[in-house]
Point group: C2
Chain length 159, copies 2
DNA sequence: GACAAAACTTCAACAGTCAAAGCAAAATTA
DNA sequence: TAATTTTGCTTTGACTGTTGAAGTTTTGTC
């Protein structure tokens, strides 16, 4: 088998793992990956507007509304009208929401980090360099990449 | 920024690219990524059973039925009762289905392959090794078998 | 021949997603 | 200041992907 095949297969394995992980996270937290990601985005800033979430996730506002609806329904987040700009709505976490994040740290990421830490210094450096190279090869330059592995699922745009 | 963050960001970029690519493929072919994958799986073997697709995609049979329904509806695939085992149904491509595959070559993959080919021999070898390593690091399989000494909390990045 | 297993489909129920339309609050402009 | 446009968000309607459970048909087995 040639190297091109090997590399493509490895890449596919990486991607597939993250796909399958969506199911894992749901099992562990009772929250879907998309909802989990919203939770993470909120928690990064304390509170956040729907617009922000929409842009960070590259998803329409309607989608954000529906995601936040579910988080609110399940008592993980709250909506709160902004007093400065009444068009805006601040979305923030409840204690239950914070707990969900704390109690369910990203196992995929943990798995990776744990193994990464076990590597020799030079191995770590090499791995980082190669990952970055691959990312660049795929032309993923100008993306908002936060150091969080929790991925949304690969989903088609609806009709 | 430490190496852990760098590596997670790079990984995230890779994953994000493939996510966005799903939209690209839909745009280019009029077929959703899931349906496209089914098309690819069929074409690898000429014809295929629902069970096979289900296993290959790690998805329930009901899902496969619904995906194939759509491909048939759109004239890209056909169902054909097996004569050996009448429980089985062979799924195969129509000409339109084959065309969809041909007309929509994988730009993400091409992109990668082109750049990969341009690399030095030793660089290619190193890249493959690192990708495979990452794939293994993310795989859940060896979780039980891995000699994990660190029982302590692993910080969820970002939070 | 009765019964279990296998391969599919059907059905009901969700989640995620979008586009388009609607509403309310700012911002801009006349 | 009044009218108009823009901005932020929700609602609605529609569609895909997905599952699990129940049902159908065909095989296989005792």
């Amino acid at each position: 088998m040639d190297r091109i095949d090997s590399s493509l297969i490895a890449l596919r394995r990486i991607i597939r793992t993250t796909e399958l992980f969506g199911r894992e996270i749901r099992q562990a937290t009772g929250v879907t990956p998309a909802q989990f990601r919203v939770l993470q985005i909120i928690s990064e800033s304390g509170f956040v507007t729907a617009k922000t979430i929409s842009m960070r996730m590259q998803v329409s506002q309607g989608t954000v509304t529906s995601l936040v609806d579910k988080l609110v329904r399940d008592g993980l987040a709250l909506r709160q009208k902004s007093s400065e700009d009444r068009r805006q709505i601040h979305i923030l976490l409840t204690n239950a929401g914070r707990e969900t994040l704390v109690d369910a740290p990203d196992p995929l990421q943990q798995r990776f980090v744990r193994k990464f830490r076990a590597m020799e210094d030079w191995e770590q450096a090499m791995l980082v360099a190669n990952l970055e190279r691959v990312a660049t090869m795929l032309d993923a330059e100008d993306l908002d990449a936060s150091p969080v592995l929790a991925t949304g699922e690969i989903r088609p745009a609806g009709a």
